[in-house]
Symmetry: none
Subunit: 123 residues, 2 copies
DNA sequence: TATATTGTTATAGTCATATAGTACAATATA
DNA sequence: TATATTGTACTATATGACTATAACAATATA
């Protein structure tokens, strides 16, 4: 369900937090839905249990999640507000990073567009 | 000339590296151009001298910069020479990384295509 | 030559992140 | 009730990033 990019420089727990928020924002996670157990997610992502706990705890403090010892962690019924603005900023960031990297090797936006287009067709 | 986002979670020295590469890739920094001194950039960005040094050193190792003690740090005149195959592999890598990151946030290839297209038009 | 400027090196300390391992507490389930 | 599963708490350790500070080395310039 979630993915960790260990090369991005962004702390794992932050990546988890962001992805949970966006999943909720997109409706993939509905209020009441159960999240992976802390142990399971730690195994899936090959990271430490404590790192998952840290992410879940922050989300609980923010009111996004409800945790119940013994039963699991659930999406809170209080609807959090995932704004499109944050989402747009994330996309911008991804594009900026990629462009910086690509242009340092002399690639143009057209090169990227072409490459992306090919991948789309091969899906 | 450069900007640091202290809230992004991305290490300062990595941000500097990316921005220098970006500037070179876009032609804003030409071979032979002099970069800010390590001390000056540290002051400008309100970060530590060692952090700037670290960024410049990595860029020098990569062949992007030439440093000359006493006179400054300059954009290397050695053009990074990679053959077409390596180049293609590099582009694939960049695209793969971006897609992994983007999809983890729920973005589709179309989202990326659209975002790229917009940037192209705004150039 | 003398001085300033530039990059370099080194030491030490703080903080955040992540890991490993162990044990405990609450709940669900057989 | 007994057991498994879930989240929680804690200690210890390691590493990376960043900072503070000081001294050193090479070059440019007055």
């Amino acid at each position: 369900m979630f993915l960790i990019d260990s090369k991005s420089g962004v702390p794992f727990y932050r990546q988890i937090i962001e992805q949970v928020k966006f999943a909720i924002g997109r409706g993939e996670l509905q209020p009441g839905d159960r999240l992976p157990t802390v142990r399971q997610l730690a195994v899936d992502l090959s990271i430490n249990l404590n790192t998952v706990i840290r992410a879940y705890r922050e989300l609980e403090i923010e009111g996004m999640l409800d945790t119940q010892q013994g039963s699991g962690t659930f999406v809170s019924s209080r609807k959090p507000d995932i704004n499109g603005l944050e989402r747009q900023r994330m996309l911008d960031q991804i594009l900026t990073d990629m462009l910086a990297r690509a242009s340092s090797y002399g690639f143009t936006i057209d090169d990227l567009l072409k490459g992306l287009q090919q991948r789309k067709e091969n899906e």
